[in-house]
């Protein structure tokens, strides 16, 4: 793909992906040098596992974020705990079995929340809180019971609470990859349906889609993503792993496909790097570390993302306020000279500054450097180019007035009225012509 043919949107997304890949590559030597990480076989397996889990939860998490169900992710991940414990009691410590148990418990929690919402007048937040706390308490009670069993090797169940990257082994990675591939494949197959129910459920229903079924399928995929991530992030913090990549990705793009891809990349970074850092020292729990890394990505995106980020918008605000100051100063000067005779009349400094204090100074400085005004003693005088510019601006304002009055009658294109813009830049030429004709009809 040629760089020139890409839209600004595409560029932003590629910029973000490139940035994160560079960061990831830089992390390897820096981590080795700063933290003394050795990339042994175990660490490589852990990093791989973390990245794959990050891809899955990042991609699915986008839908949770967009459907405003971030907190549902929280409830469902807490709710997985009793499933893990019951599966352990019934069938032993095989990872696959534990995860199936976790999935069943989360899924029951999901149905329970729907049942509460369907049959009572409780609101969603209350229903989620009830299920979150009760299921979690059930899990804790079962874990305490398991701990009380003598010589039961319950070690390892704790890792579902805060996550433990070091416990991931090669067969786990294979399991995760297999299930993850199936989940992502389903996502790709039902892409259109998921997109539709996420953004406009009513429309989807009116067009004959099985909204209930699609919602259930999507929720089930989210449950699977949560359950897979549990051994890395743990039940309490899994929600962060699920939604943080999506929130970060949302800052860079307006398109769902870009968002999902970007979230998967962010998730891979957070999962991989977080898992590696926590593998340095057994004291660092994995889940919290991953959350911290993921949140740093969110913070960076919120600040840096072009178009939406805080830096960007504060820069734009600064540019806007400079432009407004210049324009307002010019208008004030022009209004003064018109009411005091000829355009060459000097304007006392005290008068013009008295109107807009700081922003007046900012505007005057710009006008001065552009050669639109000159300062003699303590009064300002518009230069010839200044008078010309002020006239053009006044004319534009007049056209804006006419636009407001006659836009409907003349059937002009619909615009948001922004009087700081020159109307001749925003309306097509023929529309300007029609407005000009109106000025001649109504001499003022």
């Amino acid at each position: 793909m040629k760089l020139k043919s890409m839209s600004a949107e595409d560029k932003r997304v590629w910029l973000a992906i490139a940035g994160i890949v560079v960061l990831g590559i830089c992390f390897l030597p820096i981590g080795q040098w700063l933290f003394g990480i050795r990339y042994t076989y175990t660490v490589r397996v852990v990093a791989l596992g973390g990245s794959i889990l990050g891809v899955i939860s990042g991609a699915l998490g986008c839908f949770a974020v967009l459907r405003r169900e971030s907190l549902m992710g929280d409830a469902l991940s807490h709710a997985a705990l009793p499933g893990v414990a019951v599966a352990f009691l019934l069938a032993g410590r095989d990872l696959g079995v534990l995860l199936i148990g976790a999935g069943i418990a989360s899924w029951i929690a999901l149905r329970f929340i729907s049942a509460l919402l369907g049959t009572t007048r409780l609101k969603q937040d209350a229903a989620m809180g009830i299920v979150l706390a009760s299921w979690f308490a059930g899990g804790i009670a079962l874990l305490a019971y398991i701990q009380s069993i003598p010589d039961a090797s319950q070690a390892g169940l704790d890792r579902f609470i805060f996550g433990q990257a070091a416990a991931i082994i090669e067969s786990d990675v294979l399991l995760i990859s297999g299930v993850g591939a199936a989940v992502l494949l389903t996502l790709a197959l039902f892409w259109k349906e998921f997109k539709l129910v996420t953004f406009d459920m009513g429309f989807a229903g009116a067009n004959g889609f099985q909204v209930g079924l699609i919602n259930t399928l999507l929720s089930t995929l989210i449950v699977i993503a949560i359950v897979l991530g549990l051994q890395l992030a743990g039940v309490i913090l899994m929600v962060g792993m699920l939604i943080a990549p999506g929130i970060a990705a949302r800052q860079w793009t307006q398109k769902l496909n870009h968002m999902v891809i970007l979230a998967a990349v962010f998730g891979a970074f957070a999962g991989g790097v977080g898992a590696v850092i926590s593998a340095i020292d057994a004291d660092i729990p994995t889940g919290p570390m991953i959350i911290v890394v993921a949140f740093s990505l969110v913070l960076a995106s919120i600040t840096l993302a072009p178009g939406r980020g805080l830096l960007w918008s504060s820069w734009r605000r600064r540019l806007d306020s400079r432009r407004f100051a210049r324009q307002n100063a010019l208008r004030d000067l022009y209004r003064y000279v018109l009411s005091h005779g000829s355009p060459g009349t000097p304007v006392p400094d005290a008068f013009i500054r008295g109107i807009g204090d700081r922003s007046a100074a900012l505007g005057l400085a710009q006008l001065l450097s552009a050669g639109l005004v000159e300062l003699t003693g303590d009064s300002w005088r518009l230069t010839d180019t200044g008078i010309e510019a002020a006239r053009r601006d006044a004319h534009s304002l007049q056209l804006w007035d006419l636009y407001r009055l006659y836009a409907d009658d003349l059937d002009l294109p619909l615009l948001g009225e922004d009087r700081h813009l020159d109307i001749r830049d925003v309306l097509p030429a023929d529309a300007i012509g029609q407005l000009e004709a109106m000025t001649e009809q109504r001499p003022n």
Partner: protein
Amino acid sequence: MMVLERWLIELLLNFVAREEINAFLRSPQHTATIIGCLIAVSGALLGTFLLLRGMALTSDAISHTVLLGIVVAFLLMTDVFGMAGDTSSPWLILGASLAGVGTVVLTELLYRSGLLRQDAALGLAFPLLFAIAVILVSRFAEDVHLDEDAVLVGEIGLAWANTNSHCFDNCVTVTINPDHPQAKMARQCRNCRELGISPRDEGAEFVEICSNCGSYSPAQAWQAGYLQEEPVLVFFPKSITVTLIMTALSLLFVLVFYKELKLTTFDSALAKALGFRPGVMNYALMILVSLVAVGAFDAVGSILVIAFFIIPPAAAYLLSDRLAIMLLLGPLIGAGGAFFGYDLARGKFFGIIEVGDIIAGVNSISGLDLLETWDSSISASMVLMIFSIFTLAWVFSPRYGLISTMIRRASQSRRFDDQVVLAHIHNHQFTDRHSTELRVETLHIHFRWTAPKMGRVLARLRALGFVAVVDGFAELTERGETQVHAFRSAMLEAHNMPDID
């Protein structure tokens, strides 16, 4: 706090003997139940307003971030100021509550930036702050009792052992200095470590140090055997005091600001128009929620506490429409859950069902060999009991319960069937289509019902005396006629239409 405890004990001593107080509070069950009930009462009082304001998950936010406040305050106290680490210290409680409120403010700021939605801001902020707290705990606070288990479930079962002692008679404080006859002196090598030599080597210098010097409170002195005469002591669990204060504060808040809370909760715009400050009320509520979450941290940890805020009011909400009654029922339900919760942790469900028997049943069915004595977490069991009571309320609530809803729907659908049939007969009798429309054998076809259903409805209407069957045709009796007119005019009135009959 000590003063309050002393005052409370003196009050109690008017009614019961000292030994009885000590024996009562030394029982883990009594202390745990008292603490659980107090948390439940304060949580339910405040939680009622959270629930009605649609802010139930704010308690989740606060409880998560309060952990960070506690950990940071704890580390500051022990590492920077060199105080003894104590999670029931008023300073720590205050600091941690501020952290809780601060996070509510932060989340609001995050969401007002317009870059993310409220649920996302919440869902992002709690895990992050909780994650930082957990990292701090596991990195820096390993030796202290702030471990990950305590963070999750608290230590309500051990609360009885963490007491303040109050002395009422024979109160002797003992100070042991090196000259004291009972001072235990020991020789210690002063420079062995820095020189890397053993105490037997030449050049080792020794100092005499006193291993038991310091001042002892009467209770400590008696325990260490420095006193001849036993002091009159009462031991009072610290957690009870803390939770008692929280409960009193919550109760006071709700009683004093009942009107303001009610108004701002149900109609915040009206409250504002009348000159109240909904924002102030909101933050006051948040501060109290934080205080209760911090106070409960020792006993039930930082996650399970949200159950005490959310579930009892939710159950009360299913039982009543009146705020005052909700405020009574919520604490009762919570306290009931806490009361039965201790039993559940020890293997008895509602005092009737033995959990061990259930496990035995599972064992015999599945052929597994699970341990048949159930001994589990007290705080989690309390939450499970509260949830059980909630489920009971959900199923059996007289107005909103599953069963009553089911019964109501069934009776509504029966009444609808009756009215349809009566209206059908009313419309067609005495008309020329009467012979096709009202023949009993074919009547069900006109409603697209099955013949048995038609039979049931007709039998009911005949039993009620509304319909009679004459020569195989259905016709209205006089009572049936009145009935039709009654519900017709009720319906027309409900739709504001004139009666054309």
